[in-house]
Symmetry: C2
Subunit: 340 residues, 2 copies
């Protein structure tokens, strides 16, 4: 399945998710607030998290059907599923709104950020609104188990932000520590999006464990690719300047590997830059990219992402073959090949 | 019951609430995050919201006991109640952390704000953490009905912030509109703290309605008194500079009344100042306070608060007489007489 086929298969699901979100926004009293959350959410996002919830719920439901029923088409998901799925887009949107305030970011995906269009206060409050609605819907639609999963993931995300801040420019950072931050930052929410879908469809213990493995591995791979794109991405596609992570002193996998495994003289250039000032790091980003590349940092990270996706795909083997499974496999491959 | 007696009666409950919060903070992994939320929560707050949850739950439980059991002492609240009650302190703390970032506030209750001790990012994330934990605990301890009440109150708070921003320096603002903002900003959370306590103790429909009336009226009175203290408070007690609201162009009840009902020439001074710049408003705060006072704005607002408290006390008549009821009555009187 190529990328175009995948996107056209996903389009109807994305429409349903967008409709559920638009209906929810219609309940907001303040016109300004409605405008801001709309800007924060309908900004070209790929809806990966809610799609995972929907697809996993379908896969689990199909696998749990009695043997006689072989046609997956007979299984139309309850409308509630889209309301539960959108919780993950709300949480993601809330964290982007706050992240952009924290990073003083001007643009995201080529569009002005909410803190630029309006101001920081507006973006903070709109993020709080999405957060509150997300948690409320999580509990009311998904029940206590879903709320607990989502609550854990969200608090892990924040704990990981603090851990990451603590790791800035720590040139001795271990891979283990790097993955601990990733697991909290992105992995936790992607993992929860998958597990909540499984819970909602009545997964048994083994099925939940398989889905957790799938979600964790996919979430980590997603973030490793993000860290690669930060160095190697096309600025027009990603809508972000390259080299941001290095400028901020963020210790990501390609950099950690290059310092630890590359030639010592080149490693010293990197550690000296990390001990220095951000503008100097920004100015020398091309040289840095070459050093990391020659030390094998990018191919190492790429291999790491490949291994994670292989683990994710293996976990799916516990489920019946069907179109939804094909789609999830294609989505996992897409995570590896995406360019934005 | 005087203030000292009230506080000594409440102290053991406050201890239990503080213990529940400290136990919750012990689960945080990042030492920095733990430090920040501790700073945000253990900052001399009066714990009014969680106390209301606990006291209302006791009052309802006592009222619902069979006639034979007359001794309220036999009724010890389940430990869960304190975990549910602390949700309101978390939500309050989260909103203060974010408000201080939004207002660029340096101090609160005479102590440096988190955005001053650390930075805005840290305060935003710590607020998000409290918010997430609050919503999760609300659902897991209180169940769906409590989560729904708390979710509604929190989103109403944010909607009201936007409404308030829209009303700044609107010299034609109606009292109705003023109360709509209050209802969202403070009333909603205080009302929810009361109603959640009632739900938790198994209140029937009439009892819930009575508690809702009590909570709404108390919450509004609390905020009217806050608005009075902003003009008339003692800076040493409140820990806040007086005249902030007027400097920011916030249309509160004393000001609305003075413009509408006071002499036209004095009203023009106020509206001209509101159309002008903040530093000018700040510089002339003594003159403004005299104008509002002579127009009867403060006594009008004070009467409004008295009427609200009378309505709150009347709503309590639906419940059995007991020590908890005395305490709630004293707490309602305290709201009127507080000076910080």
């Amino acid at each position: 399945m190529d990328k175009e086929q995948l996107l056209s298969l996903l389009q109807p699901e994305i429409e349903q998710i967008n409709q559920a979100m638009a209906a929810e926004f219609a309940t907001i009293k303040s016109a300004r607030l409605a405008e801001v959350v709309d800007h924060g959410i309908f900004n070209g996002g790929k809806r990966i998290r809610p799609l995972l919830t929907v697809l996993i719920a379908r896969l689990v439901a199909f696998t749990r059907m009695p043997e006689g029923i072989a046609d997956e088409e007979e299984l139309s998901p309850p409308p509630d599923l889209y309301h539960l799925a959108m919780v993950f887009e709300f949480l993601h949107g809330a964290s982007l709104l706050h992240d952009d305030v924290i990073d003083h970011a001007d643009t995201r995906r080529g569009k002005k950020t909410a803190n630029q269009v309006w101001d920081a206060s507006t973006a903070i409050l709109a993020g709080d609104y999405l957060h509150t609605r997300a948690m409320t819907l999580a509990g009311l639609v998904g029940g206590e188990r879903c709320l607990a999963l989502i609550g854990e993931a969200t608090s892990a995300m924040i704990d990981a932000e603090f851990l990451q801040a603590q790791n800035v420019a720590d040139t001795n950072l271990s891979e283990e520590n790097y993955f601990a931050v990733l697991r909290g930052k992105t992995g936790a929410l992607i993992g929860a999006a998958c597990e909540v879908g499984a819970c909602f469809a009545g997964a048994d213990k083994e099925q939940r464990a398989a889905i957790r493995t799938f979600g964790d591995a996919l979430g980590l791979a997603f973030q490793v690719v993000d860290d690669l794109l930060d160095y190697l991405g096309d600025e027009d596609s990603t809508g972000k300047a390259i080299g941001n992570d290095f400028a901020e002193g963020k210790m990501t996998l390609p950099l950690i590997y290059a310092i630890k495994e590359g030639p010592a003289d080149k490693g010293k250039i990197l550690t000296d830059l990390l001990a220095g000032q951000a503008p100097e790091r920004q100015a020398r980003i091309r040289e840095v990219t070459t050093i990391i590349d020659e030390a094998g940092g990018f191919s190492y990270a790429r291999q790491g992402a490949d291994t994670l996706i292989a683990a994710a795909l293996e976990a799916l083997e516990a489920f019946k073959d069907c179109e939804t499974k094909d789609t999830l496999q294609a989505l996992a491959h897409y995570v590896l090949s995406r360019n934005k």
